[in-house]
Amino acid sequence: MATYAAPGQPDSVVSFKPRYDHYIGGEYVAPAKGQYFENPTPITGRTFTEVARGTADDVEKALDAAEGAASAWGRTAVTERANVLTTMADRIEANLERIAVAESWENGKAVRETLAADIPLAIDHLRYFAGAIRAQEGHLSQIDEDTVAYHFHEPLGVVGQIIPWNFPILMAIWKLAPALAAGNAVVLKPAEQTPASIHVLLDVIGDLLPAGVLNVVNGFGVEAGKPLASSSRIRKIAFTGETTTGRLISQYASENLIPVTLELGGKSPNIFFDDVAAQQDAFYDKALEGFAMFALNQGEVCTCPSRALVQGGIYDEFVAQGVKRAEQVKMGNPLDTETMMGAQASNDQLEKILSYIDIGRQEGAKVLTGGERADLGGELSGGYYVQPTVFEGQNSMRIFQEEIFGPVLSVARFTDYADAMTQANDTLYGLGAGVWSRDTNTAYRAGRDIQAGRVWVNNYHAYPAHAAFGGYKQSGIGRENHKMMLDHYQQTKNILQSYSDNALGFF
């Protein structure tokens, strides 16, 4: 067990450059307007690098590079593209600590998570799509004896991707792996809260891709994201974020008649049926861990199990033990491998979470634990830390209905199966859900009745590459992960061929 030295110190495994430009056409290019913005680490609140403040001119330059590269990349043999992806994965694996520490410093999350989840999952994702693209085959249909319909997969061309700040590298790879495997060129805009760690990644893998296949334009949404999303030069836009921006991006996409995939978050229920406590065994302990999963990544996960619904028969004891479990979540320096929960990603995020804790109290929800900003002392005093917080209340309260995106759990009671399903589905969103039961029939029925794209049964927060992920209702459009994701980055070409020598006889 160890504490990694902070980037910038001589013994750190990673050092950030003092400044990052845009990555366009395989090289670093200064922003057209010459402006940069400061990038602080949420761990201490101090700036550690500055990043190019991109504008429409920079986006155009990146689109030039992508258009120049798309055609050749789209025609490479799938073996070649798959090999590039697996080599990217190998390089990242060889630099795991360096990238994981960079990601922790950038986002504020505990290095324990980046070492065990974010970066290993990114590696696995690249390998999965390397395999998936080689295994993908087109289809053919014999229409009649002399006529055949061939269906080919073709890349879309140049695509735009806008990445969120909660998993800066993993979310970039979720979008990049299928897009690159399918033969597209990409212009990617990282979140302005977390613009730097992807450049540490590019340092490791940038040379593996032909120039222009992957271009990164940094900057603010209004200045760089908007020109990208509204450009008539992209063939698709992919976005992870919130509903209003999702609608705005859809509006731009409709003007250009291009497809859009949106991942817009949720308010995921985590449902514990009475039979969970039938025995005090390993499974019961696993369920308690499931209850505490809201603290993963400081609650900054679109699928955060932020609503726990617990059946009346076990409610008092299970919730009391669950709260105890949440109180064992160890806060501290995110670069310490013992730390379980780190800093929120930005000051405004911290303020928003505290605002929600405030409205929760006003609405009469009871604080069972936490409920305050945490001051971890020393250098960490400048960072953005919130105690793991558990509220008890009703599903109609705003803290049960809005994605707080912090370590805040809202707990309510349900009476029977029907009540559980009513409360679970009484939400605008439908991204994730958890069901905990020893009865497979109950678990199966609940899994099917919950209106969400991903239902975890007797587990939570697992993200294997080959399980489809995406939302029902206002949680978005389209899916990520799984080989079906290749379709989101491909056109279907149909060649309808006649092998007959004879005229139809019509004219």
Binding site: F37, R53, P164, W165, N166, A191, E192, Q193, F220, G221, V222, E223, G225, K226, A229, T240, G241, E242, T243, T244, T245, G246, R247, L248, Q251, E263, L264, G265, G266, E300, C302, S346, N347, D348, Q349, E351, K352, L354, S355, Y356, D358, I359, Q362, E363, S396, R398, Q401, E402, E403, I404, F405, L428, Y429, Q474, S475
Partner: protein, 145 residues
């Protein structure tokens, strides 16, 4: 842009500019001040309240008309800002409004870096919503619409 004033302590009651809004939504003095300078840069503005992931639950501020309001939106009111000719419309999706309508909203501003396409982000600040429950009397006056 000169130094932007922001609220610093979330637990303090945020004051509102009198007559800056409606019974449902109003502005803090800092938000009002910021809207004047942002209008100078971007022209007339509007708000649409977001929900969902990441920067969800944040009020998004756009050049007026950039975001297309539709039949699925509710107009909570117009925000009046001293020094601006045109009031600033505040909208929210109707489905989200159903869960919010028992609370009064104050648009405030804090230091930070929101994402999304909201126009204040490059200035190093972020609009934020402070909420309080309506009293029974206020609910009656608003007709609980």
């Amino acid at each position: 842009m000169s130094e932007i004033s922001t609220s610093t302590d979330v637990t303090e009651q945020v004051p509102e500019v009198p007559c800056s809004g409606t019974g449902r939504v109003a502005l803090s003095p800092q938000a009002s001040e910021l809207l004047v300078s942002l209008t100078g840069i971007h022209g007339p503005l509007m708000f649409h309240q977001s929900g969902g992931c990441c920067d969800g639950s944040a009020p998004m501020c756009y050049p007026d008309g950039d975001f297309k309001i539709g039949g699925s939106d509710v107009h909570l009111g117009d925000l009046s800002v001293e020094g601006l000719e045109k009031p600033i419309g505040f909208y929210m999706s109707a489905s989200q409004y159903e869960y919010w309508k028992h609370t009064h909203l104050t648009v405030d501003v804090v230091k930070g870096r929101g994402s999304g396409f909201s126009v204040e982000a490059p200035e190093g600040v972020r609009f934020i919503i402070r909420s309080r429950l309506f009293t029974d009397e206020e609910m009656r006056e608003l007709g609980d619409r």
